[in-house]
């Protein structure tokens, strides 16, 4: 066996069920409530109480709910994991510098420094566990061993009564020997090794290193070294990011929007000044608002260029106002507002030109004023999108946001309407009636055959104002996404011209006629 680099004594902190802990930290719940986080329709993580009821990772939501009827289901957010752990790591850095973030819930530190400071490895681990308890993170465990891999396994095997597990120097191979092979987290390799009769790390480590390299390549050799307790990976501590957040606490809590925005104003100036001092501008930020009833709201805001102090204050106000009411009071007093820059850019890329940014600046200011009257969603910009119906093809984005298109407008979209396009597109389908000869109903069979030719139609749901149809074309079937019940669509479209020369785009969905658009 070859030992290339010296193996560093490592201290690994492991918080079990971190996604659950993070979710509870953001929107509080009692710790013993059964909670499951769902990712792509399956349980991604579950709390201890839910596990006791049999809710496991990989279950479908419905099955999990059947096993535990009181289960609280929340969507899994990876960003939330990262973000919440970030604050924990920052606290750990206060205590012990040089933290490497392995993944949310697990971080590694070289144990040499802390061990010397606290007078031993075990006291250092205990200091860390105490800190986590103070931060309100339950059940954190610490493992100390040769190399981060062994230390992580040590942390995972720590128990509630003995939360710091120290594997003495040189005993790594002995410690790992009886652990199951699936800890190397390479499912393909694990299956193969199991078929070869290797079920523990010790058995894998016992294979000759050269043969493993020849058979499984570099990755296999690396995992072989890990399972032999020869984890030579160094701990690369992260560089703590610069603190650019802004938090304003209100005591006593404020219950009026204008009071809160006034309170944020000075801080927003500081926020922008701090960024400018670091030669940065903020292009998207997140506003987090806490209230005295324990409500928590957070939302990301984008800006077409960069946030000024007034823009920041506006975003706070819009978030407080919610969607519609402008002068309404708040449900509960606001205790804390936090503004976090989500993406920053060098200020040089956003410098105003020598002759100003032209009329756009003026337009932006004017529209921001309208937004402050009507709310953020009051002023829209239309963006062409992809799709077959007119509503799909034109999406609107609030002024100031960047469009996020799910369908490309550049693709051909067979089945879309031919030009010219209608100037009036009804925001909601406008019910109409279509009659065949003698007032019979007009329908389309499953094979696309029209039951009668349309002769008259009434442009209102009440059926009054019946007009003659002078020309018509159709049916043009649109059958989309049958595999997804929520967005699937199976309709027939018609173009008709009435006796006043106005053309309509009608939609037959099942037996219901509606107007999608009018050519006027």
């Amino acid at each position: 066996m070859s030992t290339a680099a010296p193996i560093a004594r490592s201290l690994v902190l492991w918080v079990p069920d971190w996604p659950i802990t993070a979710s509870i930290r953001v929107s509080p719940l009692p710790a013993d409530v059964p909670l499951a986080l769902i990712d792509k329709g399956q349980v991604f993580a579950s709390s201890a109480a839910a596990r006791a009821e049999g809710v496991q990772r990989g279950l479908r939501v419905r099955e999990a709910q059947a096993r535990c009827t009181e289960l609280i289901v929340r969507p899994y957010e990876q960003q939330l994991d990262q973000r919440t752990f970030e604050t924990i790591v920052a606290e750990i850095e206060e205590l012990m510098p040089g933290v490497q973030l392995v993944r949310p819930g697990i971080c590694a530190i070289r144990s040499r420094g802390p061990a010397r400071y606290y007078g031993g490895e075990k006291p250092a681990g205990l200091a860390l566990v105490t800190l986590l308890d103070e931060l309100g993170v339950a059940g954190a465990c610490v493992g100390i061993a040769d190399g981060p891999f062994t230390a992580e396994q040590a942390a995972r095997t720590a128990t509630n009564s003995k939360r710091v597990r120290v594997v003495p120097a040189g005993d790594a191979a002995l410690f790992l020997r009886d652990l199951p092979i699936n800890l190397i987290e390479q499912p393909n390799l694990v299956v193969l090794l199991r078929r070869l009769g290797i079920s523990t790390l010790g058995e894998f480590a016992a294979l000759p290193a050269d043969d493993v390299l020849g058979r499984f390549g570099e990755l296999g050799a690396h995992l072989h070294a890990l399972s032999g307790g020869l984890d030579s990976r160094p701990i690369v501590h992260r560089i703590p990011p610069q603190e650019l957040d802004l938090a304003v606490a209100f005591e006593p809590a404020l219950d009026r929007v204008d009071q809160v925005t006034f309170g944020v104003r000075a801080a927003a100036d500081d926020f922008v000044q701090t960024l400018v001092a670091r030669h940065l501008v903020c292009t998207s930020l997140r506003v987090e608002i806490e209230t005295d009833l324990g409500d928590y709201s957070e939302r990301s805001w984008l800006h077409p260029r960069s946030f000024t102090a007034a823009d920041v204050v506006d975003r706070v106000r819009w978030q407080l106002q919610g969607s519609a009411e402008v002068d309404s009071g708040l449900r509960s007093g606001v205790t804390r507002v936090r503004i976090v820059p989500e993406s920053v850019d060098a200020i040089g890329n956003h410098e105003v030109g020598l002759f100003g940014a032209g009329p756009d600046e003026r337009v932006h200011n004017g529209l921001s004023r309208v937004q402050s009257m009507l709310g953020h969603d009051g002023v829209l910009v239309a963006v062409m999108s992809g799709g077959r119906t007119l509503a799909d093809r034109a999406t609107t984005v609030p002024w100031g946001d960047r469009p996020l298109l799910s369908h490309s407008p550049g693709e051909p979209w067979p089945g879309r309407l031919p030009a010219p396009f209608p100037g009036t597109v009804f925001p909601a389908p406008h019910p109409v009636h279509v009659f065949g000869p003698g007032g019979s109903s007009v329908g389309v069979s499953e094979r696309g055959v029209l039951s009668a030719r349309p002769v008259r139609f009434a442009s209102s749901a009440s059926g009054r104002e019946i007009r003659e149809i002078t020309a018509w074309a159709g049916p043009w079937p649109v059958a989309e996404r049958w595999w997804d019940a929520e967005v699937s669509r199976n309709i027939n479209r018609f173009q008709i011209v009435d006796d006043r020369g106005i053309a309509w785009l009608l939609v037959l969905d099942g037996e219901n006629w509606s107007a999608e658009a009018r050519y006027d």
């Binding site: 337009v363 910009v381 062409m384 010219p420 396009f421 020309a471 053309a503 006027d520």
Partner: protein, 271 residues
Amino acid sequence: MSVAIDTIEHMFEYGDMAPASATLAASSAVSSRPSVRELQERIRSMQATKLDSRLIPTHPAIAGLLPGGGLKQGSTYSLDHSATLMMALLAAPSQAGSWCGVVGVPEFGAEAASSFGVDLERLVLVPNPGDQWLAVTAAIADVMGVVVVRPPKRASDGNLARLAGRLRQRGSTLIVLGTWPQSEAMISLSQSEWSGIGDGFGHLSARQVTVTVSTRMGGRPRSARLWLPDPELQFAPVAIASHPERYGSERHNPERHDSEQQDSGSYLRAV
């Protein structure tokens, strides 16, 4: 001087002239006609809301019908409900680089606007301004060259005058979908004929309409037969109707013409 005063006097006499001035009119009919026109122009300019009204780019097919030969800055035009015609009016200024705002039109067809040449990057929609529509329109008119608005209800005369003042000051053009007191001209649409679609076959491809413009200053409404749009999605006059006036007198049935004149008469009284 007295000749000039006489000329002014009989300018206001439509139709039957007083016998006293008849001799003068007969003697100087040929020479006075240009000066009459000149003075009419002068009266018009004195009555105009702004001394120097500049034109914004207007589609040539429609520009010829409008008083002054195009959409004026700081003026208001009212438009019969036709989204296509509205987009035709927006397209030329939008392509020339001005911003357009559409207030109170939730059913605005953005794809059609884009295909008719309106630049969506410089188009702003305020679909539901609610009760604040007048304030929103004024705020948008501050920063945009052309504003389209559909008033959900009537505003008071004082507010309208304030808005008109703001438009004049900022040089923005307001296009109102519906009626509007004080509008420079009223543009309406009639006799729409679609082509390309038959009895169960084809699809809508082009349309011919008669666009009629009646002005606040009175006079005959001017109309023209236009492609709105033609098969290439362009707006153009229909070839046979090269002379709009003749076209109007030939093709309009007399009843319809009368009613239009009456419309414009009642419209004038409303002003």
